[in-house]
Symmetry: C2
Subunit: 771 residues, 2 copies
């Protein structure tokens, strides 16, 4: 959060990006080679200033008084509200997920019905133009909304949520506009048949709902209830957003336990038992809502929604038998998943860098990129099935099953004569959800030809790489599942008579392996697949596949979310300090930073204004000196200094104030707000001579380290306790030693920034790495 004014000038030049250096560890934003580089990051597709969140309890006089005066009833209100919010988050996420599903199934359904109708009448060109046109329009709507109203709604949003829960506040991520654009954009993009899922966006939508509920409504229309104001702090908001993210995963996969575990394993940085429980409550509510709607829609009350939409595949009826010999193909799938997953991560990283160049050219470029991808996708989905030859239906199937002429069904007739079906059309000319269901279909060993599956696999590899980065809400889960299931099923067919596992289950295992290979999750993926497939007997081999894929993938590169975080320049703090961090002390870090700015306990207004104007620090050490003895009183936040200036709480003489004086002027509600910028404050010349007693507004118990502390251990403390500022104290005690040596922030403790300032550490960095 530290930034000097010279640096400010530099940052404007940072738009020029370096494409030569393609190292994975090179973020898109060029940074200056000192510590405290500016807090810039790509948010959505825009470069924005970002700030840290403050999870530390600010123990100043006002907080202490407020806390002491809270009655038992208020504590109960607070607890009740916490649970009410968890309930509402679950309820609304469930409702919105249902809405999205309804919209997608109906839009895509009627579109497909029309296309099938044209094909039935052999009006192939007309069908092509209709489908391409509708997809084009849907993509256009989604893109326009994203580009003009909410650039942060593009992409999945999961990396930003992960960063938020780590303590990085990315602006405009959780607003009402973002949420609306995300909902509509997601409906448009998924219905347009693009190779992307609604899963990632649903997680973001869940987080938006949680954030909006937590702050009492959209930014401009916030409810000013006393109750809701208890939640106006970063700690409680973090908890609610965790609930929201879990609810989103749960709504996407109808997997309540999987949702909780996903939030735990992948998204959240801090976790505790009480939160586990509340999150679980939210996901339980989501499941109840989803089930209720499915009950309601069963009888056709929801248009084309029918029974579909949510359950992606249910293989609970399939008998799972396997023996020791089956471990070989399962291991092979795991290894392929790991290799392909890391390859996918590597290539996607390249593509995203390229797209970033295109997106930087302006809004028109973004729109054209999206539309080009849409056209290419439509053309492939419609055109490629013509390459596949027709297969006669298995005589054991009834006529209504094969061939099917509706929008769904496992054996699409497409351009084939009666009694035949086109297996590639079954996979391509359908919604993504149905494609997954079809490729997972069990007890249909001879349904797909190798040729069709190979085309399907290659197509979705290309689409999976080039669709993700366009300016529409897009999730990564579905593209990866489609790719993975293709090679899984291919392997199952190759095993043929030697395998005792069904081909459909091979497809499931392939999807799991690619997800583990790319996203590097284990327990949560395992549970999500368990809840999706509804078959516990599959669990042990799923576990094995996931473990192998993750291990193999970890040999090559980090997980896709980490790559995106890095690419966006979000200052995420890793759980493990790098080994070389033991060779450097926080004192050395503090030395290469500009000298720490300290304020006196009773400071002149002029000095405060001066400091606020000339620095961008968000926290200042408050030091009292009496004769030769000096004392660190604590840390005062920029927001609170601005509050004092705005409310003009000035003193004529240099004196300590009484507690009632502060409480007369400020309430804890004021203290919780973030108060604008110094430019908005007007201070007269006379006022500049007056004094401010900073003591009552100072956090008297900031966390501290001694300057001899190694960066590795300081980082552990910083992350575990959830800090924004960490005071560095001198190791010597005696006359003339300054009481505070420096203040460290998130940026100062990031490996990349430290290595820029201390390149000699890189050597040991390169040679030694291990957990």
């Amino acid at each position: 959060m530290e930034k000097d004014s010279e640096q400010m000038a530099e940052t404007t030049n940072q738009q020029e990006r370096d494409m030569e250096s393609n190292s994975l560890h090179q973020p898109l934003l060029k940074r200056n080679l000192t510590l405290s580089s500016s807090p810039l990051a790509l948010v959505g597709t825009k470069v924005s200033y970002i700030e840290s969140l403050d999870y530390e309890i600010n123990e100043n006089d006002l907080f202490k008084h407020d806390w002491r005066s809270r009655s038992q009833a208020q504590v109960l209100q607070y607890i009740f509200l916490k649970w009410l919010l968890a309930f509402l988050v679950g309820l609304l996420t469930g409702l919105i997920a249902t809405l999205i599903n309804l919209a997608v199934e109906n839009i895509a359904g009627y579109k497909l019905l029309a296309v099938v109708h044209y094909i039935d009448n052999k009006r192939y060109m007309m069908g092509f133009f209709f489908m391409t046109g509708v997809n084009f329009l849907l993509t256009l709507v989604a893109t326009l909304l994203c580009v003009f109203f909410a650039p942060t709604a593009a992409g999945p949003g999961i990396p930003e949520i992960k960063a938020y829960l780590n303590g990085v506040d990315t602006p405009n991520m959780y607003g009402a506009t973002t949420m609306l654009v995300k909902i509509i954009g997601s409906i448009g993009a998924v219905a347009a048949g693009l190779d992307l899922g609604k899963e990632g966006p649903l997680v973001h939508i869940g987080a938006c709902i949680a954030s909006l509920l937590g702050q009492g409504g959209p930014d401009d229309y916030r409810i000013k209830w006393r109750w809701i104001r208890y939640f106006n702090n970063d700690r409680d908001r973090r908890d609610i957003i965790t609930c929201g993210a879990s609810s989103g995963v749960c709504a996407a996969f109808r997997a309540p336990v999987g949702g909780v575990l996903f939030a735990l394993e992948e998204v959240a940085t801090w976790w505790r038992s009480a939160l586990l429980w509340r999150t679980f409550f939210s996901t339980a509510v989501v499941v109840v809502v989803l089930r209720a709607f499915m009950e309601y829609c069963k009888d056709g009350a929801c248009g084309l929604f029918g029974q579909g939409g949510l359950i992606m595949f249910d293989v609970s009826g399939v008998p799972v038998r396997y023996h020791v010999a089956d471990l070989i193909p399962v291991t092979v799938i795991g290894i392929i998943g790991g290799v392909l997953g890391s390859l996918y991560n590597y290539l996607l990283h390249k593509v995203l860098r390229l797209y970033n160049l295109i997106n930087a050219k302006g809004k028109l470029a973004k729109i054209l990129l999206s539309l080009a991808v849409s056209l290419f996708t439509s053309a492939c989905l419609y055109g490629l099935p013509f390459l596949a030859s027709c297969t006669p239906c298995d005589p054991s199937l009834v006529d209504s099953e094969c061939p099917s002429t509706g929008r769904m069904g496992n054996f699409k007739q497409f351009n084939c004569p009666k009694g035949h079906y086109n297996d590639l059309a079954t996979l391509l000319l359908t919604t993504n959800d149905d494609a997954v269901r079809n490729i997972f279909s069990t007890n249909t060993p001879s349904e797909y030809r190798v040729f069709s599956l190979v085309i399907f696999f290659i197509l979705y590899c290309i689409l999976g790489l080039f669709t993700f980065g366009i300016a529409v809400p897009s999730g990564l889960f579905l593209p990866i599942i489609l790719m993975g299931s293709a090679y899984g099923r291919l392997l199952g067919m190759a095993m043929g008579p030697y395998a005792s596992i069904d081909q459909g289950l091979y497809a499931v295992l392939g999807a799991a392996s690619l997800m583990a290979g790319s996203m590097r999750m284990t327990v949560s993926l395992c549970v999500i697949f368990l809840e999706l497939t509804n078959n516990l007997l599959l669990l042990p081999i799923t576990m094995l596949v996931l473990l192998i894929s993750k291990s193999v993938g970890d040999c090559f590169n980090p997980s896709i979310y980490e790559i995106i975080l890095d690419l966006k320049g979000l200052p995420f703090l890793e759980a493990h300090p790098e080994p070389w961090m033991r060779n450097i002390t926080v004192g050395e870090l503090a030395d290469v930073k500009p000298p720490v700015v300290t304020l006196s306990g009773i400071e002149t207004v002029g000095r405060i204004v001066d400091v606020l104007r000339n620095t961008t620090h968000n926290g200042f050490a408050v030091v009292d000196s009496v004769g030769q003895v000096s004392e660190v009183h604590g840390l005062v936040l920029r927001a609170h200094l601005l509050l004092v200036l705005k409310k003009k709480w000035f003193l004529q003489e240099r004196r300590r104030t009484e507690e009632w004086e502060v409480r007369e002027k400020f309430t804890w509600v004021d203290v919780a707000e973030r108060w604008g910028t110094i430019e908005e404050v007007a201070v007269t010349k006379e006022e500049m001579e007056m004094y401010v007693d900073l003591h009552p507004l100072t956090n008297t118990t900031p966390y501290t380290v001694v300057e001899t502390m190694s960066v590795a251990k300081a980082l552990v403390q910083f992350r575990q306790v959830g800090l924004r500022h960490m005071l560095v104290l001198p190791k010597y005690h005696g006359h003339g030693v300054p009481p505070v040596v420096g203040i460290l922030t998130r940026q100062d403790l990031r490996a990349h920034n430290i290595l820029s300032a201390f390149p000699h550490l890189e050597k040991s960095h390169a040679s030694k790495k291990g957990r």
Copy 2:
């Protein structure tokens, strides 16, 4: 860890226990009313001294050199070994769990066959004597082993593991003797038909295996491999024991994901993603082992084991249908579960206090207590079925199913005429596992009479309270499941025609509700039940029941594990600081402790010996003073001072040593050991005058807080970072201020101890409590 010599005298008088005060917050051990009370706790049934574990990385010169000199190959060795250990933990836990199951099923099976034979021949008295006699002998074996060889093997062991992972080292918990006694004792106690399970003991056995593997074998026969020595530190051992505990749960319930989540939610204090993954690997191995043995035993190769033993109940075939109206009985079950669960906790606490009085009377008392419980149990199990009247078999059942005359089966003939069965005998005259299976049986709506279920419920309430505390390995899961399933099934019968859920599923929900009401877990219980019942459709109502039960139970008292932890006096640090901890600073805590003991960087041998003899501290501040300036060099551990004295690394003159001098004398292997007591060290008079350079052995980067820090925030840091000692620095910087104000340990930060020293805080404590 702090203790003065006067206190030492007091502690011997602490055997007298106060029975007047029955508050839940009163531990069994009487403590003196100052801070730093002595670290005594009940371990098993014995009072022992306990110590804290040290999870902090001790960054002294030796560590730094060792760390720098570790080659890439050694780092890989370390990582490989981590995974190998996780694998071995899973493998051995799986094998031992299978062994226990085999032994229990065979012993109990042949016993029951003989009893059934006597009953068939109407030799009722003979049957009674045979069953009681065998049970008596089995209990005797289990008790004798526990009492004479390993008192720590009594009970479930889960609270101690929970404390260990929190940083409390309970002695003799993870030795080879303890493990053997636990295995044999558990077989004996379960086969004796006592109302206890093998689940808790299996968790303890898993932890023992992990600990033994991690240290390279039993205490006296440890492998001295270089590889295994990397694990000779508390951090790595903590990780392995977490794997062991998860494997134990997994082996008990055949629930791999549930095992991981149990460790995460209930047992572990620190957690990170990498550990989640390794734990998951261990449980995956366990499942593979269990499945392999079940395959092998399917055809009768394992005596009476057959297909039974492990899967407790599989209701995957039962169609689950429920509507909104079913929410009412489900809610009722949840509320009953919460109320009964907390009542059970309350009563069990009383019984355990009473038992503690009995156990304190000596070994004979313990043995007699166990045997009395065994006799009472046998008499009830055999005698009560005679009270039940015979029920005619449902004609739709085949003859071999009803009545059954073997040891298993759902319709036991017992004393009834042909074509009739005794429903109470079905529940009582069987193993506990079979009883669970029988009471959960689905599609048998008229199997049980209300009268029989009421007797069953009352009997198991009594047994559940009076069996747990006896000196045999005992788990809490099974008694609670039996109690809960009884009232669940009763409620299902009461609902009768109004319910659309099967009675067997009601029994499952009852068991889940009582577990949540007593143990207060949610997510992990939910997943364990999911994996046990193998029916995902049950998930939403299980979640609902668990949430209600836990919420209701939390209104009354803490979870049973917390009660036991408290009762045993284990210094467990809670995640949440109490609200009143914001009103007191660490400086105030340090003031009421004896003054901090500091050593100079270069200290005389005499002073070191003196300090070690006259204090029981385990860490000492090392302070260098030059003129008026003093500097905290760091913290030196008692173990390292003893190491210096034992190796006689003394200097003739007062000088700083070079790095090679230290490395010549000590290796990192020495530094990792814990080195005996001061009494074992002999130092001559001349040596007393010599010097020791403490610098190279001092941890130069201890975590610190300033004395103005509130205890609440200090506690968060202490627990989150995993400390043993926390240095308190003065707030003033200047001449004459001591550089270290105090050292805080785990005992100083415990709520109970602080309240003893500062009783005025109690007021606010009583009036305000809330998370």
